[in-house]
């Protein structure tokens, strides 16, 4: 058998644990190979499951080791990594969990995974210098209304019908988590302006503003979106918060000339 066929058979049996080991393998003194081949299967799964656990420690704590291992195994089968860059693998986990029947009794699990994915992306995102509040203050009101933002490369937004930030915070460390004070939906802005990832709760209006700005809307349009989500929203304050959090690295004009402000 040529080497590429040997490798194809090896890979197929590695992935499909129902298959016997491929032909052409020999154990010690010509002995059996099933347990020896199983070492390779176990090493693959342990490595991939370990990578998911590094990315999703709170999901792992919420469901427990045995459940996490079984769930991760199903995820590996459905979404095997294409690249050896495992630190970037797992963005499909939230959607997978949303469809995963065994965890349907934990309806907030997918959103916790979404928050952890955003956290992981922020953790590994490129460095960039965030604007200070003074840069916002320096914008004259007409310029400010026409401005669009350049987001910090680490920024992510997560919105949930569940108190996802409270749940995540309560389970970040081992211990005895307290239930959220109120079971209301929460939205989070995830950002890493300096060394550490920060997670900020956003009001519905502030979330609408941030989502519109991240999608490229002008401050004026984003303000309208914020008011539509929550009439009482102070959009100016919400924008100032975004700058304060380090989520903005620049303002550009929404003007077609696209001049840098």
């Amino acid at each position: 058998m040529p080497p590429h066929e040997i490798q194809a058979a090896f890979a197929a049996a590695l992935i499909d644990t129902e298959r016997p080991p491929p032909e052409g393998l020999i154990g010690r003194d010509g002995g059996p190979v099933a347990r020896r081949f199983a070492v390779h299967r176990a090493a693959r799964l342990a490595g991939l499951i370990g990578a998911l656990e590094v990315r999703h420690p709170v999901v792992a704590r919420l469901v427990g080791d045995a459940f996490f291992t079984a769930m991760a195994q199903a995820f590996v089968a459905a979404h095997p990594p294409a690249s050896p860059l495992l630190l970037a693998w797992g963005d499909d986990l939230p959607a997978f969990l949303g469809r995963f029947r065994p965890s349907a009794r934990i309806p907030y699990l997918a959103d916790v995974a979404r928050l952890e994915s955003a956290w992981a992306r922020a953790h590994h995102a490129a460095e960039a210098v965030a604007l200070t509040p003074a840069a916002l203050d320096a914008l004259a009101p007409p310029d400010r209304q026409a401005a669009t933002i350049v987001a910090h490369p680490s920024v992510g937004l997560v919105a949930s019908d569940h108190p996802v930030v409270s749940i995540w915070l309560a389970h970040r460390r081992d211990g005895d988590p307290q239930p959220p004070a109120a079971w209301v939906g929460e939205a989070a802005l995830v950002v890493r302006p300096e060394a550490e990832v920060r997670v900020h709760r956003l009001t519905p209006g502030a979330h609408a503003l941030a989502a519109a700005l991240l999608a490229g809307a002008s401050v004026a349009a984003a303000t309208a979106a914020a008011k539509a989500a929550d009439e009482s929203c102070d959009a100016d304050a919400a924008l100032a918060d975004l700058v304060q959090f380090g989520a903005v690295t620049g303002f550009t004009s929404a003007d077609p000339a696209d001049r840098r402000l």
């Binding site: 490798q7 890979a11 010690r28 059996p32 690249s83 050896p84 490369p153």
Partner: protein
């Protein structure tokens, strides 16, 4: 820091012939706070291939204080498919950024049909796979602009198709591609047990002139379904005595060589890992002194 004599084995690494440790993020704070130092650190390349963030800040701080070895696990040099150019570019970027004293990868494959399969897997040793590995190593070395070290795998089984002994295969790769070798003594001992060959004889036959770095690690010991011993390179405990004595045997042939303690699972506190490195360092220091005396006499 220890004074830094250069490695005696391969001329293609600039690591000092001292004891180092495979870096675990859990230990970094204690190391940077001045906990028991070691001679150098080795990092898994793939853990530092993000664009930025705390991993790079940690690695920068480590690199400012210690010599560095970058150890890749994902290039799939023994694979049947072309190298992943994106991954090779990421490795080249990491190497250019940190200018490590050594760069190593595995004799194995980990990608097939667009999938990453995790830990490096074994390949049959034939003239065809030898030519392919030499070509791939050459491609990697060209992309990095420097030679690499290639590590011997831990074997659990063998291929009926193999026609070349592993030690001859490794020596031929080194000679044809100009790469050096990373002798994982723990892998060699695991393979000897699992395949039923004499580990001491394998050390005696190993092409030490190409060895630029050595790995030592713990292992998990079990048996297969026929009751035959089955050792797993789990890196989950102290270095077994059989591995220490094989290491001594290798160094008796080569003189001192930079040696890494790998401890990745069931991770203990930093002082326990550092104590393993200290044991290796005591022996390496004695060998360096002996060599210094011999050099002075010559």
């Amino acid at each position: 820091m220890i004074s830094t004599p250069t490695a005696s084995g391969s001329p293609i690494v600039t690591l000092p012939a001292v004891a180092g440790v495979g870096l675990n993020p859990a230990h970094v704070a204690e190391i940077l706070a001045g906990g028991t130092p070691v001679g150098f650190f080795e990092v898994l390349a793939e853990n530092y291939m993000g664009a930025g963030g705390p991993p790079h800040r940690r690695l920068t701080a480590i690199r400012e204080r210690f010599p560095l070895s970058v150890h890749g696990v994902g290039l799939s040099i023994g694979g049947a498919e072309p190298l992943d150019r994106d991954h090779l570019a990421r490795l080249a970027c990491l190497v250019a950024r940190y200018q490590p004293a050594a760069v190593s990868e595995h004799l194995g494959w980990s990608s097939h049909d667009g999938r990453h399969l995790g830990e490096p897997l074994p390949l049959p040793y034939t003239e065809e796979t030898l030519a392919r590995v030499v070509e791939r190593v050459d491609e990697v070395q060209t992309a990095l602009g420097r030679p690499i070290l290639l590590e011997n795998p831990a074997s659990y089984l063998r291929f009926a198709a193999s026609t070349i002994p592993e030690v001859d295969f490794l020596a031929a790769v080194a000679e044809r591609s100009g790469c050096g070798l990373l002798l994982d003594v723990a892998n060699l001992d695991v393979s000897a047990t699992n395949l039923g060959f004499d580990a001491a004889a394998a050390i005696d036959a190993f092409p030490m002139r190409h060895v630029g770095e050595i790995h030592l690690a713990g292992r998990f010991e079990t048996v297969d379904e026929a009751g035959q011993p089955l050792f797993v390179a789990a890196h989950d405990g102290p270095v077994p005595e059989s591995v220490w004595s094989l290491w001594e045997r290798a160094l008796a042939r080569s003189g001192p060589i930079p040696t890494v303690i790998e401890w990745d699972a069931e991770l203990p506190g930093w002082t326990i890992v550092a104590a393993e490195a200290a044991r290796a360092e005591r022996r390496l220091a004695a060998l360096r002194r002996a060599r210094g005396t011999a050099d002075a006499a010559a």
